[in-house]
């Protein structure tokens, strides 16, 4: 037993040092994650049964009501995105006038949340898209309402994402209203981010929307991150204490969108002639946002 204990201690200490200090065990984790995927899949079954039951055992009246509500919501959203196409075209023209770089549009793909990290201290999601789907480490993830996090581990068919509320995560943000830049750190609690190093004289208010600033090169700019909820300016302290509530439904999203950074071929060219949205931009803008839901939901 003594020998085995010694061996075990060596292996354990070696693993901890390798993973913590040198971060050199990514391929091992990747393999283990692939092996562990079936366990997450089994653990997900009860939730799926519940959702299936809720979906199919519904009164007809409720189903019709839901249908009508969704049709109306879809109509409103499409109406809004018509305007977005025009605004986008105007933005591109203005950028061209100022000789700025052209606007790039990001591609999105839907991924389903297979499971959540069981450790309440860690905020991680397990997604059902992996290396085979082109997922890479550092890829940003959003949901319908805002930024969710980034991919930290990739295995063959699954990947792990770190949420913005995890205590080890930080993200550069800017205030939507006036462009003030700050960094939003996770606190370990799902409902709040801490905005650090905001001096007491900075122009920031409760209710301000914080969006990604695009600085740091990891997260593309312009995605909503959080809304400021608490500001405490203590005259005795150097920085104000600012808390913000994440916009995304971090604990409830079943589907997330993986952002694939735009390539040059997808650059949006300024429309020829005075302010008009070209037909391609309009339909493209609507088409690309439609999730490819059918193949995904059929998966066992």
């Amino acid at each position: 037993m003594g020998l085995r204990l010694l061996l075990a201690v060596f292996v354990v200490v070696g693993l901890i040092i390798a993973d913590l200090r040198f971060n050199s065990l990514e391929s091992t984790r990747s393999v283990l994650d692939t092996l562990g995927a079936p366990i997450y899949w089994v653990a997900d079954l009860p939730t799926r049964f519940g959702e299936w039951g809720e979906l199919h055992i519904q009164s007809r009246a409720r189903a019709l009501e839901e249908n009508e509500r969704l049709t109306l919501e879809n109509l409103v959203l499409q109406g809004r995105s018509q305007q977005m196409a025009a605004l986008q075209a105007e933005n591109v023209r203005l950028r061209a006038l100022l000789n700025s770089t052209a606007l790039l549009r990001d591609d999105v793909r839907v991924a389903e949340v297979l499971g959540v990290s069981p450790d309440p201290v860690r905020h991680q999601l397990v997604l059902n898209k992996g290396e085979l789907d082109g997922v890479f480490v550092g890829q940003p993830i959003i949901d319908a309402d805002g930024l969710v996090g980034q991919i930290v581990e990739v295995s063959a068919a699954t990947s792990r994402a770190l949420l913005i509320t995890d205590a080890t995560h930080s993200i550069p943000v800017q205030v939507n209203r006036n462009g003030v830049r700050a960094i939003a750190e996770g606190t370990g609690s799902l409902g709040s981010l801490e905005v650090r190093h905001v001096s007491a004289t900075t122009d920031i208010q409760v209710g301000d929307l914080l969006e990604t600033s695009g600085l740091g090169g990891r997260f593309p700019g312009g995605y909503p991150v959080a809304v400021v909820t608490v500001i405490e300016r203590d005259p005795g302290k150097l920085f104000a204490h600012v808390l913000a509530k994440p916009s995304a439904a971090l604990d409830r999203s079943r589907h997330v969108l993986l952002i694939f950074a735009s390539q040059d071929s997808r650059r949006i060219e300024p429309a020829s002639g005075p302010l008009q949205a070209t037909p391609e931009t309009t339909t493209d803008a609507i088409e690309d946002k439609t999730p490819d839901a059918t193949p995904d939901t059929q998966e066992p």
């Binding site: 085995r4 653990a43 990290s117 450790d119």
Partner: protein, 162 residues
């Protein structure tokens, strides 16, 4: 002729698989801290029941897999489960003759040590848990020990695992 060698090994593996599924199954937010350490509980049972089959190396392998599942630093749960296996192997003779209540008390201490070791490694990493909440899984685990014990014992006897 009584069959020598490993018999019914699959039951041990199956019980650990069930423990893994229970360890990651989604739970409501408020209940998250109360989730017992299923893998540790199952490991404690098998080290008491079959100390010559399940031991330190089993704890090591189980811990590494649990780390990958939890997204933790590789070695966190490995370390904890190795310690738990070691202590269970040292105590198994006494544990076998304890009453179920005394066993649950010892299991509470073992699980508490498990949580403590995990907490240390997490602190090395920079994450931590609020106050004494990290000990709650030890309490819930000790409360569930009788269920785990009787269920696995029943299955072990039925399938004659040795």
């Amino acid at each position: 002729m009584v069959q020598e060698g490993a018999h019914g090994y699959w039951l041990i593996i199956a019980s650990f698989l069930v423990a893994y599924v229970l360890a990651v199954i989604p739970m409501p937010q408020w209940l998250l801290w109360a989730r017992p350490e299923w893998v540790a509980l199952t490991l404690i049972y098998w080290t008491i029941a079959l100390p010559h089959r399940v031991g330190i190396l089993t704890g090591l392998v189980l811990g590494i897999i649990l780390d990958a599942l939890e997204g933790a630093v590789l070695g966190q749960n490995a370390f904890a489960l190795v310690v738990v296996a070691l202590l269970s192997l040292t105590l198994y003779q006494r544990l076998r003759v304890f009453s179920i209540l005394q066993q649950a008390g010892t299991v509470f201490v073992l699980l508490g040590i498990n949580q403590l070791v995990c907490q240390w490694v997490q602190n090395l990493e920079g994450v931590g848990s609020p106050g004494l909440l990290f000990l709650l899984p030890a309490v819930s685990g000790a409360l569930l020990w009788p269920v785990v014990f009787y269920t696995l014992r029943r299955l072990r006897r039925y399938f004659m695992v040795n």
